[in-house]
Amino acid sequence: MPFLEAHNVSKNFGGVQALKDVSLDLPESAVLGLIGPNGSGKSTLLNVIAGVEKPTSGIVKLDGKRIDNLRTNRIIRYGLAKTHQIPKPFSNMTARENLAVAVLYGRRNIHSPRFALEEADRILSMVRMGSRKDALADSLTVQEKKRLELARAIATGASILLLDEVFAGLSPEELKDSIQLFKKLHEELHFSALVVEHVMRAVLSLSQKVMVLEEGRVIATGSPDEIVHDEKVIQAYLGSKNPAT
């Protein structure tokens, strides 16, 4: 029984069809990579699943219940959280306050700010940002902001994470570090994740399965190994091997 499922999801923006009949399954504690050229609809798909956008047609279900007509802040209660491609921290709040908001209003619906702050500290040390807990989010580095974005999604108590390019824009060292951290977190928390990523090294080493989008359509699904050898995928990324055909 798949945990998160989408059936024939389409999304139009005016005359532009951003998603065409996209379906996917995300079983419990699985990691599904989502790749594709710029403008292929990856972020739109995450937005539709997370309730930021409503699908034009199609169904999204979480544990068998439809969520495609719910708003983001309701979907959080079902245990699904999304990070933002460009980090959107609460700039004038400290790192721990950022997470405390997520603990208070997330799935667990906590009412004590003091408990939420303790919980926030725990999660911050889990993502190795314990020493930065009292820093204003505004003063964090790009890498730290990305990590805060991930930590805040975890702090909502979500068991499904939609991660929009959390590994982008990092130096090779930072990237290695982040991949290792993600693996550790996944082992400890057993969340399932839908990972949108341009950084191939990250997607291929994290995902059990990879889905490729091109112009809003799924053109391939398979193991990372299958995907890198798939004709259609190579064509989508690099163009045809043989222009004559």
Binding site: A50, V52, R71, T72, N73, I76, R77, A81, K82, H84, K88, P89, F90, S91, N92, M93, E97, A100, V101, A102, L104, Y105, G106, R107, I110, H111, S112, P113, R114, A116, R152, A153, A155, T156
Partner: protein, 311 residues
Amino acid sequence: MKIEKPGLTLYGLCIVMALLASAALLLGVAVSSILLLLLIYAALAYSINFITGMMGYVDFGHVLFMAIGSYALATLVSYYGANPLLGVGLGALLGLVFALGIGLVILRFRGVYFAIATVVLVLAAYNIVLQFPQLGAGGEIIFNLTFQPLATYFTIWTIVLIEIVLTYYVNRSRIGFGIRAIKNEEDAASSVGVSPRTLKLTGYMLGGLFGGAAGAVYAWSISGVTAGPAFDFTFSLLMLAMIIIGGVGTSIGPLLGAVVVYIPSYFLLTTVAQAQPLMIGLLVIIMALFLPDGIVGLLRRSNQRLRLVLE
């Protein structure tokens, strides 16, 4: 919900309030009439603080709630001979109800669009009042009450005290975290489960409630209401100036701002009245440029210990 132990900020504010109460009791009518207007200013500053200070929604039309409160009290007292306290209650209630109705619509706007909508509302309300003979039809409603300075004084004193305690605990509570998140990044707030619609409406309604109450006491203190001055844009600007100077969103800021704006203006009024708006305007510009967190922010930055204590 468990109430957290109050910090030094709240104790300090309570001491100031105790001093204000004893000053009125001991020093007589002359002093209490000066302090009365200060407290009305403070009540207005705390009321707009719930909207602009905490949520970051700039409300240029907050005078609307003040006017609603003024008309509620004036009507009740002059036509029905009711106890002015009842008028204050009605002012608060109408402020709340109007805030609910208006908030449902205009809180859908953000940023400058919200600000413009608030200005338009005041213009609309003013023109509506002009149409009703019962509301003075643009003239005035005046009433004669026996002079009771202490009753007026302690009514507004109580309102300010309630506002202080409420501001303090809202800031520390779950709701406070949610409202700050909205102020920082509204979309990100809903992406972690905050419901901006509900929380913004809550803040706006608190602003309406206390704005209405303060406006009612103001009408009580000047024994009436006149259409033009009741909707005077200057009041909105003064309220904004007070929280910007004091420190937006904080529990101390509105009171500090009220003192800074009111006391000099009281003395200037007797010498160079025209200089008052000019000076306040200049002060706000300087604060906005160099001290966006107001006096509270300045104090916090100047001393590590103050940073932890001032709220």
